[in-house]
């Protein structure tokens, strides 16, 4: 299908409503995600990379090194898919994998919402700004000739969204099926500098400490009548607030460091985690990577013929 399709300018109306629909859909979904979590604070709710304990699944029992390597490779394979059809198949497979890992759905939903703002930019802009090629089907609205809706652009946007959603859904089975220290230990054994993974652990731990501190300072500002607005006064207050956060954190840094030295820190922590490889680990890795490769091959050869 190619060419220009002349349609009534009335069709412009649903197009104008599209951003509104995207926005309200986002609000409804984030409302659901918040309700499940039971809080109201939007900016402050930082989810924990937590191990969903109590459940077990084939993904939970998978050796963390094999899991990391397979998922990372799979993520790169998924983002190199070139057709929405295969990307849709990848998404369905990711949903299946998510189900197998027995992780609550709201966590995946939150991840998808985290990307919603960025991805909606593509959904809204690409159909209008994609460069017109001879094989494109383009919708033109009556006599308005500066605006055209390129269906190839819409395809491209869908492809991007499907690829992003697939990788986002892979993240939960990757991270929530083992405690963070185990995941990081796996990364270390795979050759990531040990310092880097240990720093990540410290940062993750102190994140919640400073979050708590920031929230306390925020409450202090709120009871003194501080309301944010677009003004120089807000800018100054927030500047002082951020500056205070930094000063406190610098001071705490020194104390934390002294405490670590006092406990015999010599640059590295002991790593009591032991990992054992079983044949099942190899099998699972082969399965996951094989599926990814199969998708890429289908993408290259089959879909191209349609």
């Amino acid at each position: 299908m190619s060419g220009t399709l002349q349609i009534s300018s009335l069709w412009l109306l649903p197009l104008l409503l599209l951003p509104l629909a995207v926005y309200s859909g986002f609000r409804v979904l984030s409302g659901i995600a918040r309700k499940e979590q039971g809080g109201e604070d939007r900016d402050w709710s930082v989810p924990q990379i937590e191990y969903e304990g109590g459940t077990t699944s084939p993904v939970h029992r998978w050796d963390v090194r094999f899991k990391l390597a397979s998922f990372l490779l799979l993520a790169f394979l998924v983002v190199s898919l070139q057709h929405p059809q295969t990307a849709l198949v990848a998404l369905i497979m990711a949903l299946f994998g998510y189900r197998v890992a027995a992780i609550p759905w709201r966590r995946g939903l939150k991840r998808l919402l985290g990307m919603a703002g960025f991805l909606s930019m593509f959904l809204l802009m690409l159909p209008l700004t994609a460069v017109r090629q001879s094989t494109d089907l383009v919708l033109v609205f009556g006599s308005i000739d500066w605006l055209s809706f390129n269906l190839r652009g819409l395809d491209l946007a869908m492809l991007i969204i499907l690829r992003a959603a697939t990788v986002a859904l892979l993240m939960e089975p990757l991270l929530a099926t083992a405690p963070l220290p185990v995941t990081l230990a796996g990364l270390t054994r795979m050759g990531v500098p040990r310092r880097l993974t240990e720093l990540l652990l410290i940062t993750h731990r102190y994140l919640y400490v400073f979050l708590h501190e920031a929230r306390r300072m925020q409450i202090g500002m709120d009871v003194r009548g501080f309301r944010k607005s677009t003004s120089l006064a807000t800018l100054r207050s927030v500047g002082n607030y951020v500056g205070m956060l930094f000063v406190r954190s610098f001071e705490r840094t020194e104390r934390v460091h002294a405490a670590m030295l006092a406990r015999g820190y010599q640059g590295f922590w002991p790593q009591p985690i032991s990992l054992h490889v079983t044949p099942a680990d190899y099998l699972k890795a082969c399965g996951v990577i094989g599926l990814g490769l199969l998708l890429v091959i289908c993408d290259q050869f089959l879909v191209g013929r349609f």
């Binding site: 900016d43 402050w44 930082v46 990379i49 990372l72 993520a75 790169f76 983002v79 991840r111 998808l112 985290g114 990307m115 960025f118 930019m121 802009m125 690409l126 700004t129 460069v131 652009g153 492809l159 499907l162 690829r163 992003a164 990788v167 986002a168 892979l170 993240m171 310092r195 240990e198 720093l199 990540l200 940062t203 993750h204 731990r205 102190y206 994140l207 400073f210 979050l211 920031a214 944010k228 677009t230 800018l235 100054r236 927030v238 500047g239 002082n240 951020v242 500056g243 205070m244 956060l245 930094f246 000063v247 406190r248 954190s249 610098f250 705490r252 840094t253 020194e254 934390v256 640059g267």
Partner: protein, 206 residues
């Protein structure tokens, strides 16, 4: 704005990952081993600061603070930003797994540059330092937006419209970032000026 998975061509994603990994190793080596835990703790504070939203007219923007991180940490800024971005990806899915390298270049390079500028143009008076701080904050954010637009445009000419939109959307962010950076520098000059004398990690050597 963080680039999510599936936007960049695979070659660009892999290339930026390799370059970022190289700079990251350099940044790790430049940081004295004793100071590494300190950088990690500070990164948590920067992470929390980046969660602060400021209203701008009808919308709100969140702070990016690449300029401030660069000014406070010097060469370790790249390391700190890498830690922050990995956590943002792991926790919120802000910025995708395969786009980590691209995002790191986008925020980390301007931060390094801002650090360099901040320590080479100290100025004589407080006002001059505040001005340099504001310029570093705004400039680093603008540079980030430019890299973002370039990366988006690497997807082909279809993406040029999106790249332009992304660049325009960053104008309020640049303004707010410049304002807040100036204010933070002014606050630190009053409260703890020694933080701004030498980049944090080079303190021992000086």
């Amino acid at each position: 704005m963080h680039i999510s998975d599936g936007v960049l061509p695979t070659a660009v994603a892999l290339g930026t990952s390799a370059v970022s990994a190289g700079i990251l190793l350099w940044s790790l080596r430049r940081t004295p081993a004793d100071d590494l835990p300190k950088v990690a703790v500070l990164t948590s504070a920067f992470f929390v600061a980046s969660l602060i939203h400021l209203p701008f007219g009808p919308t709100s923007v969140h702070l990016l603070i690449p300029g401030l991180v660069g000014a406070l940490l010097g060469p370790s800024a790249f390391l700190a930003i890498a830690l922050g971005l990995v956590l943002q990806c792991l926790l919120f899915q802000f910025g995708g797994l395969t786009a980590l390298g691209a995002n790191l270049l986008m925020i980390g390079l301007p931060a390094l540059l801002a650090g360099l500028v901040f320590y080479h143009f100290k100025g004589r008076t407080k006002k001059q330092r505040i001005l340099v701080g504001a310029l570093c904050g705004g400039g680093a954010t603008f540079f980030s937006a430019l890299i973002l637009a370039l990366l988006l445009a690497s997807g082909g000419e279809d993406f040029i419209g999106v790249a332009k939109l992304a660049l325009i959307a960053h104008i309020p962010v640049v303004l707010i970032e410049a304002g807040v950076s100036g204010m933070v520098i002014s606050f630190l000059l009053k409260v703890k000026p020694e933080l701004l004398d030498i980049p944090f990690v080079l303190k021992e050597k000086a």
